[in-house]
Symmetry: C2
Subunit: 253 residues, 2 copies
């Protein structure tokens, strides 16, 4: 049985808590947050604390707090030579105070408070300063049903950047399509199967192979007409830039 | 039993043929293409023809050909006063020759030759010049298990434009993430669950509500660092433009 103490009360902490408490081989010994109230609803399942001096001994302390708080919180921990991991996509492993054995346990996924999530589909990116801790964290990921990857800080930051493209930027394209279709009284639901299929396709085909459409075909007539259709200058700029990007990728001029 | 004759041999034609031949209430009477060879492998299931003069009588003729060929092919049809539909997202219904009753039967989906597709999840956008044909096409969509929508030419062109954003442009963002992660020897598979979840989220949440990340939070430190991480100027320009777009949508400056 692995014992884990969780620190933080954000989306990642909450999803991790739920996943750990379902796992057979993991015991969440305590859950710390500066303000008890944000997690007090879990008090009948787990010991809730708001004082670092009450922290008990555990195999792993997970700092699932905001990027800016990681260094400070790791410094404030009242113990040494134990295993401490943060869960951030962008913070260096060296931001953790070196009085403890340091690690990163980064679940690459988008976490919303309300959206239920199947944790077993989440890849866990693991980094350690002491090699002997790698297997422990790999096993822990397995206890959650997750696939894990050994990922360096630079690779993790690159993944985090890639995630901005495939998640935040993609979502903004959905938002723009929502605006465009709303303006002509079109139900956004009509686009949802297409959104789904676009994603499904790249699960077993490279995005390069999956590409279709006017930019890839260099269909100048359609591109010109669609640019004319766009009433919003910002949407037009995005259309032009991404069309140019597709043309370049697919060798069009 | 509805009788349908299909014209064209591209991805849409092929997927439509497969869907029709599975439907109980639909008979594909003939399948026409200028060159027999592209569809001759279906000759044991359906009558294949390459001469318009061999066209028999049917309830509906579907021109699933390239946008540029629709007007010419509809003009070349050797009959009058029958129901003729095209399947294009962008061509006006009036591009069809008016000697026949005109319609649009536009399946809003991305079609690849190889990707298997569950046709029942595809929304069909229907437009007609003669009102009495609407119910026939709506029933036909239902025979395929599809939801259909009455959509004007302007709305259809707007949907086609929106589709470029949610499909082609989104796919290009996947491509860029692929390039970025490849450059650091990261397996693109790690990003796939995130890609899937981003899409899943907007199935029951608006893209506006689903947004997260540094641009939405106006996290200047992360934005600056990520811009520095990007080595390709084109990627940088896309990062900047979409970050600005998200900020504007979410009221950040």
């Amino acid at each position: 049985m692995k014992s884990v103490i969780l620190l933080g009360a954000g989306n990642v902490a909450t999803h991790l808590y739920k996943a750990f408490s379902k796992a057979e081989n993991v015991l969440v010994k305590q859950w710390y947050n500066r303000t008890r109230s944000s997690i007090s609803s879990y008090a009948n399942e787990v010991e809730i604390i708001d004082d670092l001096n009450q922290l008990k001994e555990a195999d792993l302390y997970i700092l699932a707090v905001s990027d800016d708080s990681i260094a400070e919180l790791s410094k404030a921990l009242p113990f040494e030579n134990r295993l401490v991991a943060h869960t951030s996509g962008s913070v260096s492993i060296h931001d953790l105070d070196k009085k403890n054995e340091r690690a990163v346990f980064y679940p690459l996924q988008t976490f919303s408070k309300n959206a239920e999530l199947d944790f077993s589909e989440i890849p866990i990116c693991i980094e350690v300063t002491e090699k002997h801790n790698f297997q422990f964290l790999k096993d822990l990921a397995e206890d959650l049903g997750c696939i894990s990857y050994k990922i360096s800080t630079e690779q993790r930051q690159t993944l985090h950047l890639s995630a901005v493209f495939v998640n935040n930027f993609t979502n903004q394209l959905y938002r723009i399509a929502h605006e465009i279709s709303d303006a002509k009284s079109i139900n956004f639901d009509i686009l949802k199967p297409l959104i789904m299929e676009t994603t499904r396709k790249v699960q077993d085909m490279s995005p390069y192979m999956a590409q279709t459409g006017p930019a890839k075909r260099n269909d100048k007539k359609t591109i010109k007409r669609q640019l004319k259709q766009l009433e919003n200058e910002d949407h037009k700029a995005i259309y032009e830039l991404l069309t140019a990007s597709i043309k370049k990728t697919h060798g069009q001029r």
